[in-house]
Symmetry: C2
Subunit: 421 residues, 2 copies
């Protein structure tokens, strides 16, 4: 039984020494430990403030995954569960991170140190607001959008002049798309400042909505200096913008939490840079841990790669990460998983099979902008592919059927992006 006043973490560790001892070193380093017994380290402190090793499950010998001062031939791998007293941490996210994902990664005795699982105390979760909008709030802002929402990224992602940018936005907004987003690299460059992007994009979206009747959300990337964060947010809101975007791992979870305190629109959470501390299986923090913190800090929409993407995670890992986003976390609103990279009409089938939900946003670049019949057909083809996936209908048959009825969007997309293409 877990003490409800503790934070429970499961780590994958490798060590030359007994895994029990390695776990104790980690627990000591991250709570009341020091090398040498010093005056004042009383039994009271150890009792109330020491992290406790709850379980050590040895996994056998392996070669060391990470470099250290030593260079052993073999190390002992183990899954280790440690409980950290909430009293040390309080309810602060940065303090939590320091305890469960701080100095421990540096420990010389460890040849792997990976935070794989996190169970937070109810009191910790309850102390954070979570997403202000989440799935439901995003749908509402999109005119009660049903099913999977479709979005895209402005391409070319950097270098557009204001007039070029205007035409790209116009085309996409007229395509009745749900979301357009800045590339993560596009922040506030001199050649196309955020202020101009906001003015142009909101103007074009408003005009397009008069034609299509379909609301479009633009995720303006307000990543940048913290001193200007509020100003950039206000710029978006005052122009009638409906979403701001933040590169969370680079700005830090505290920056996300700060933005959450004043944001009047959903926060589109990009994960650029996260893989630096996530991709090695022997180091850093698992996505399913990180997403809990990003949710508590207030991300309404969260990137999670996509099935069939150009990114490293295999599809089963991507699917597990998406499912983790859809799991309840206390009383907080559920964030909208954002799927991106290499997404096209062939992706909805396997995605729905793996995830079993349409509470998703799918971002497609080429599949929208490079659709043979233009962006509107691109968006339509993706929505049709999602309908087929949910119905369990075979994609190509549906595409041919629709073409016979005069709508070639899906067929053209299948021909361009499909497996045999």
């Amino acid at each position: 039984m877990r003490d409800p006043r503790t934070v429970r973490c499961t780590f994958y560790l490798e060590s030359e020494i007994d895994p029990e001892k390695a776990a104790a070193i980690l627990a000591g380093e991250q709570s009341s430990g020091t090398f040498l017994p010093v005056p004042g380290e009383s039994a009271r402190i150890r009792e109330r403030h020491a992290a406790h090793v709850v379980e050590v499950r040895e996994l056998g010998a392996s070669r060391p995954s990470l470099p250290s001062r030593g260079n052993p031939e073999k190390v002992r791998a183990a899954l280790v569960t440690v409980d950290f007293p909430m009293e040390n941490i309080g309810t602060d996210i940065a303090t939590l991170q320091t305890a469960i994902a701080g100095n421990l990664f540096e420990l010389g005795e460890l040849y792997a140190c990976r935070l794989q699982e996190l169970v937070l105390p109810e009191d910790f979760v309850a102390a954070h607001p979570g997403p202000a909008f989440g799935i439901e709030g995003t749908r509402k802002l999109l005119g009660d959008a049903q099913g999977v929402m479709v979005g895209t990224i402005i391409k070319p992602n950097v270098g557009l002049s204001e007039e070029e940018f205007r035409l790209v936005v116009r085309d996409l907004a007229l395509a009745s798309i749900d979301l357009i987003k800045d590339d993560e690299l596009m922040t506030d460059p001199e050649y196309l400042p955020l202020e101009r992007r906001v003015a142009v994009a909101t103007e074009e979206i408003r005009a397009a909505e008069q034609v299509t009747g379909h609301p479009t959300m633009y995720a303006f990337n307000i990543t940048g200096d913290l001193a200007g964060l509020r100003k950039r947010h206000d710029l978006v809101v005052e122009a009638g913008g409906r979403c701001v975007m933040l590169n969370i791992p680079i700005m830090g979870l505290p920056a996300l939490a700060l933005l959450r305190t004043f944001s009047e629109v959903p926060i589109h959470g990009h994960r650029a840079g996260l893989a630096a501390s996530m991709r090695s299986k022997a180091l850093g923090v698992d996505y399913r841990v990180w997403q809990q913190l990003a949710r508590l800090a207030g991300a309404d929409q969260l990137h999670a790669s996509g099935l069939g993407s150009k990114f490293y995670e295999p599809d089963e890992e991507v699917a597990a990460n998406i499912r983790s986003l859809l799991k309840p976390l206390g009383e907080t609103a559920t964030p909208l998983p954002v799927l991106s990279s290499g997404q096209n009409v062939t992706t909805p089938g396997p995605t729905f099979e793996a995830v079993g939900s349409t509470d998703l946003m799918m971002l497609a670049g080429g599949a929208v902008a490079a659709h043979p019949a233009g962006p509107a057909a691109g968006v339509r083809s993706l929505r049709q592919a999602w309908e087929a996936a949910v119905e369990g209908a075979p994609l190509e048959a549906v595409a041919r059927q629709k073409a016979q009825n005069g709508d070639e969007a899906l067929l053209l997309a299948v021909q361009k992006f499909g497996k045999g293409a």
Copy 2:
């Protein structure tokens, strides 16, 4: 010749495909790239905004270091130099990080991606203030302290009551120590709030200074929510505190830059969590890259492990990292390298040999608090060990000499912490 308007990065990459092609994919992903040619990606954009692969030096075949969607037996390793146009980035640190340390770590074609070197354009460096105090400013606040400064961490690091805390600070301040710091885990817990720590520590330090005549700096850890950052800083300054501490990797470089805009005291930069994106040689960012950004953002004092420490980096790597901190960076003030973990009287010799500078702060825990003759002797022994190191005198001979002259501090320390101890 590097175009002075570009950011030059050297990456270690592994790929199954030709390293030239892998480098081009990275450069494309991090500038004006997309999978499929899309309308509007003009020659002008490619010319002005594309990152350029400058050099590819193949290193031979190896087993893949990181997992990806594929599972090749062998990959080709290479050192790759890429120039990123400053026009894409401007002078914003978060945008720079997004470009050079963002999505690239996720690329499925890469089986290793490590940013090893960074050369920033002069204009970028000049746009940032750098440390407000640095080495010189820190020395000044310590009464023009000469040589290596000696500091320590409050131990036990968590769990002390206010009265216990008071006694620990009193002992250390009466030891004429240069710096006392909070542990990175100690932020603002209910059982010993920052406000009380600030009140107690500044009071004890003031009282001790009346006795010793030696100023002591306390690095109060103001890591926590960003909404309260200024308030916590002001608390320290208003009580007469002389230093604030930030867990930089967890708070984010933008948080450090924000703190720099208003901090009236030196910023003690802790690196808790940095190893998550630094320890694997196949992933993330090298310390010598990261430290440049932390300096531009304004860290006055920066942790860099220590020779002989309990952390993973071998001594030669620690020394190289320390030397990188002492190198000039534009016109900015030089930050004070902070050495910690396992530091005692045996450490100055090898450290001075490897680093050749006394512009350092050495933090010692046990070597101060657990010195057989008490903290004052602990501090004195460390200062004496540094004098011996700089003079090139053998430690044990100096210790015996001093003992003969009636000061046993160093001898006791050598006996307790020395090699044969």
